[in-house]
């Protein structure tokens, strides 16, 4: 495949498709016009959730990667078209007078602009480093090898990644088949799975993670938006200098973002934090919008499934995090239904954790 075709392939599957799909979850969550960032961020969450729901049964049934790729593409096509129809209907009904809301530079002071430039420099530096600097890790012997096995041989989790010997299916790890997502991209782009994971994915996932932090910042500083810029600069700086050990979140973020567990802690936990901040805000009001609360829980439900794609351990951590935060919000806002309803959104997580323990 020519370089231009490869670039178009990645932009389509990692930018356009999640963006179109993301219109659907924002239908419940946001006022109109939709925010560009929220739509894209939630589109990724829904994309991962859809992939998980298709991939796990396909792997257990012993289907081939091409079957998974075909089915996923059909689902994404349906969801993308549905999202576009929803947006067109919104504009037609006068609910929204434009497609999307973009940030306005006119409202920013010179200090704000300089701050955002500093953040941009830090983020671009990290993206460039992810491409030109190799950060090998032993876990890739499992993840990337499985992705390449599936790309090349079509089988999924039927071979020992470490030795290449055909063995019993590894159902346990197949419950978090993020390597199959890498294999999907490898298949569509005709690039080797190692190149997709090490050189391409970080260029999309690092900005995506910062987008999730930006959404958190936009809620933390809802009334003082000029502080979001400094917030993002500090997040980026802490991420770069957080290599206290091999074990820190920051190390995983900037040196292993293509691994599922890293994506959970770098992207999904900020997404869940964003949803929890929304929940704290809207449940604390005297008049609670049922549609808005439903939207938050609906996206939380999808987020649990998305976490299951990335990592079984990561899912366990997100469930713990969500539960503790919901209990705290419940106590602060004196509304027991917050945590009780929250438990319902965690059902997919409990199911996947149960499968992990008993398989």
């Amino acid at each position: 495949m020519a370089i231009a075709q490869i670039v178009v392939c990645f932009i389509f599957w990692l930018v356009l498709a999640p963006f179109c799909v993301g219109i659907l979850p924002t239908f419940f969550l946001e006022k109109r016009p939709r925010h560009l960032g929220t739509t894209y961020m939630l589109g990724w969450v829904l994309t991962c959730a859809v992939f998980q729901l298709i991939a796990v049964p396909f792997i257990i049934k012993g289907y081939f990667l091409s079957d998974l790729v075909r089915s996923f593409m059909i689902c994404m096509g349906i969801l993308s078209i549905s999202g576009l129809i929803v947006q067109i209907v919104d504009i037609g009904n006068g609910v929204s007078d434009k497609w999307i809301e973009l940030p306005s530079l006119k409202k920013m002071s010179r200090a704000d602009i300089v701050t955002w430039i500093i953040f941009g420099v830090l983020m671009i530096f990290q993206m460039v480093m992810s491409y030109i600097y190799m950060t090998p890790d032993g876990d890739d012997a499992y993840y990337i090898t499985h992705a390449q096995i599936s790309t090349q041989l079509e089988t999924m989790y039927r071979m020992d990644a470490y030795t290449g010997i055909i063995g019993a299916p590894d159902y346990r790890h197949a419950l978090a088949p993020f390597p199959m997502f890498i294999a999907f991209l490898s298949k569509r782009s005709s690039l080797h799975a190692a190149i997709v994971a090490h050189s391409v994915l970080p260029l999309f996932l690092i900005p995506l993670s910062y987008l999730a932090y930006y959404k958190v910042g936009s809620l933390l500083f809802e009334d003082n938006r000029e502080k979001i810029g400094p917030f993002m600069v500090i997040i980026a700086a802490v991420s770069m200098f957080g290599g206290a050990s091999f074990y820190t979140k920051e190390t995983f973020f900037l040196t292993r973002i293509w691994q599922g567990k890293s994506l959970v802690i770098s992207f999904m936990i900020p997404v869940v934090t964003y949803l929890l901040l929304l929940l704290a805000k809207h449940s604390g009001k005297q008049y609670v919008s049922k549609r808005r609360i439903f939207g938050i829980y609906f996206v939380m439900f999808i987020a649990n499934i998305a976490c299951a794609l990335m990592s079984s351990l990561g899912l366990f951590l997100v469930l713990m995090y969500t539960f503790v935060m919901m209990v705290v919000i419940s106590i602060r806002n004196k509304k027991l239904w917050i945590v009780l309803t929250g438990l319902i959104t965690m059902i997919p997580g409990f199911i996947f954790m149960g499968l992990y323990v008993f398989m």
């Binding site: 090998p136 470490y162 080797h192 917030f231 802490v238 200098f241 290599g243 979140k249």
Partner: protein, 249 residues
Amino acid sequence: MTLLGKIFGYYSQYTGMSILMSLFFVALAYVALKDKNRNNKTIILYGTVGILFLIFNPLLYYVYSTYVDAGSYWRVFWILPMAIGIAYVGAELVKDHRITGFLLLIFALFLGGKLVYTISPEFKFATNEYHINQSTVDVADYLDTLDLDHYMVAVPYEMLADIRQYNINIRMPYGREQYDEKWGIRTGFFELMIADNVDFSLLADKCRFNNTKYLVINAGKPQLDDPGENGFTLLKSVGGYEIYEYMGI
């Protein structure tokens, strides 16, 4: 050691010598004393207190190490909103003096933090887009010209994690599972390959038993006996490694 002592051990392992966790606790104190935003306080302060109560709970440690993964409890510290807490308070403090604030921050992080790109000697500028050592790629490319359909290849320790990422056609008698002694599955073949000296007579037995026709040996590694007398033929030297074919299969 008590369970709580083990948890603190993992905490020390996680935080290392960095000041970031300390900065986070200072930020929490600031939020407790100064922050008036109820929703933010709920998530950042009270949420963190709840998470700390859970993390340092011996019951959770017991459940985690029994049913999830013994030896990796440090991962639960990932759910602490450390970066968000530090950035939230930091943004408040630097809002009117950004340049000074950012410079102080960089200074503090430079002294008390650690750049993630420097934590391992294996981190370096990539020589290819696979982000795999070029010598491993070169060895794998040569091995691909041999009969990999019927026979296996034994490689040295440093190639175990990478070579099959690059070329899955290379099947091996042992793999990356040999890395960690705690996994308890070290094979005699692996032990021979990582020994300080190459013993071709013992390796010949292992090759016969494991259907392994090709060996990759670090060039310059001391050899205890002659490869030719033990059935090995040197096929090629590439990337600082020697590739031998065992004729006894």
